[in-house]
Amino acid sequence: MQNPYLPYPVRIDEIITETEDKNLKTFKLVFLNPDDEEKFSYMPGQFAELSLAGKGEIPIGIASSPTEKGYLKFTVNKVGLVTTCLHSMKVGDIIGIRGPLGRHLWDTLKGKNVVIIGGGFAFTTLRSSIIYMLDPLNRTNFKEIHVIYGARSPGMLLYRDELAEWETRDDINMHITVDGTDDPDWKYNVGFVPTITEQKAPPGNSDTYALICGPPIMIKFTQPVLDKLGYTHNHIIMSLEMRMKCGIGICGRCNIGKEYVCKDGPIFTLAELDNMPKEY
């Protein structure tokens, strides 16, 4: 019997400090056994349990794209016991990884306009999605791609080099924004994500899907904007967070109604959420 609780061993190959507050680091992980990489076949929007021997496990969205071979990337905010320990680790250290976990909705998005709306450090799985869609083999599977991404300040944006590169391309419409900045050279938007969404997002129609990932306050104020723009609730896709342990729908803690966020989510359409208890 395959043991779904047994992590694959991985080595930390690179650590990048992403934000000016140094609270977010990206860990590039390489499988110790090359066969495990094949078994870990994932899609953007899925997550994994990172396992630190002696500390425990944490569920983290996968920041790399399946089109990036040879490694996995996770951008981790320093919050509790496991993430704090992970932040103190160094290149070469061994950790474990279980997954991929959760579902994805890429079959739904094929052939559609995709509007990505992200805030703060929730941008990780959205980065995965963008890299995936921009891959030459995949780009023709999607119509227009819009990205609205905001952070408190320029220094709090993740993946700044990639954002700058995407800004120069003509196959993706970037709308980067910050809540505020005193940087005179800042050449992108200033304003909260809901405001920028109202100004820049294309109107909703049957061919357009919005993917939202961000702090609850951002989601709360963005949703009315999307309603106004004509997005129906089955065209708004959101990712939820919950305290998790097993990640495979067995240990019982991350349910909302009869759905387990780990296995039946973490991605839900707003139409699905409308029929679930508001317990998240």
């Binding site: 992590p7 630190l52 002696g54 425990g56 250290d93 729908g249 067995i250 009869k258 029929n275 208890p277």
Partner: protein, 354 residues
């Protein structure tokens, strides 16, 4: 159907024979209460009992269980890599389990044995276990098994049903595993099937007549989840609750667990331990946010899970077998039978609806 007569005089010697092929577990009186424990050679289960204080779920799903081991010693080649450990999954027999508790394993199996993922610990232990039931002739006042999908002579989940006739047991063989068990014990006296069937049928009717309490569950499936969730009665139901978690620990169908690492010097274990939706930590986010921060939310989760979410997910009744332990043990007298009726009647004509 095959029936065997077991003279109680040959009970001890039969168990002695079984000890060669099975690890035996059974109810034993421990100070005041009966508990299920592994029987040592020569030790007899005490079958003169109503039911155990805690359910026998721990035989398959231990309260605390090691999942993996690892070394943190960096001089070792495989340091920080989790390893599976060898566990004893040799055949075990759970003797004298009540039909309600046996049925609970089938309910819980749905959680641990899914199309996508198989829980190797629970399933290996479950598959290693044979279930020897003991029919109930005198149910407790808190039992409501007959309206919770089973009953005092219920056979689902059992390999063998023992019916106590005073001087002897009638053993009804339900599966090939049950038959092997009987052979292994050396009990060979076949009972006349027609007569045995008649005796069991009469006793079953008498036992079922003694069940004094019931729940109605017929409307649960039709109710709107969000309406039940938002119903006004939860405050009143949860008012007295102290979130002690006794109900979830005693319950045969509660399966939630936590995963924790334990380290001593340079060696470590990853363990899993029973957990409970009654505890705030169960759902506490790293940020400090808690979607089930109040006891009302936690009490609602317990009952909604058992009586609505499970009903909707599996379309095969409630996640409860009517053993009544949570009713007997609750320090503040919260009664699942009452909650079930309130939920089932909500939106029709209920005192608490408005």
């Amino acid at each position: 159907m095959k029936y065997i007569n077991i003279d109680k005089k040959s009970w001890a010697s039969g168990l002695e024979n079984l000890y060669e092929n099975y690890r035996l577990f059974g109810p034993v009186k421990n100070n005041k209460h009966h508990v299920f424990k592994e029987l040592s050679k020569g030790e007899l289960p005490d079958l003169n009992y109503l039911n155990t204080l805690l359910s026998p779920k721990s035989i398959v799903f231990p309260q605390s269980e090691t999942m993996f081991e690892y070394s943190l010693d960096e001089s070792k080649e495989d340091h920080h890599i989790l390893k599976e450990i060898n566990k004893d999954y040799s055949p075990r027999a759970l003797i004298g389990i009540r039909p309600c508790d046996a049925a609970s394993f089938l309910l819980v199996k749905r959680n641990f044995d899914t199309p996508e993922y198989k829980d190797p610990y629970w399933l290996s232990a479950y598959e290693a276990t044979i279930f020897i039931g003991l029919a109930c002739s005198s149910p407790c006042s808190t039992c409501f098994c007959t309206s919770a999908g089973c009953g005092p002579f219920h056979e689902d989940g059992l390999d063998l049903l023992l019916v106590d006739e005073g001087k002897n047991f009638i053993a009804k063989i339900l599966t090939p595993r049950g038959e092997n068990f009987i052979k292994s014990a050396g009990w060979e006296t076949e009972a006349d099937p027609t007569a045995a069937e008649k005796i069991i049928k009469d006793m079953k009717i008498k036992a079922e007549e003694k069940i004094a309490s019931f729940v109605s569950t017929d409307q649960l499936k039709n109710k709107s989840t969000t309406r039940l969730y938002d119903a006004p009665f939860w405050e009143e139901i949860a008012f007295a609750c102290i979130n002690c978690g006794t109900c979830t620990y005693a319950c045969p169908t509660c399966w939630c667990f936590d995963i924790q690492d334990e380290v001593s010097k340079s060696s470590g274990l990853r363990m899993r331990n029973w957990d409970s939706c009654m505890f705030p930590l169960f759902t506490l986010h790293g940020t400090g946010y808690n979607p089930r921060n109040t006891k009302v939310q936690r009490v609602r989760q317990r009952f909604m899970h058992k009586l609505k979410y499970y009903v909707d997910k599996y379309s095969d009744g409630i996640q409860c077998v009517g053993c009544g332990r949570c009713i007997r043990l609750c320090p503040v007298n919260i009664d699942i039978r009452r909650v079930c009726d309130i939920m089932n009647n909500y939106g029709s004509r209920s005192r608490l609806e408005t």
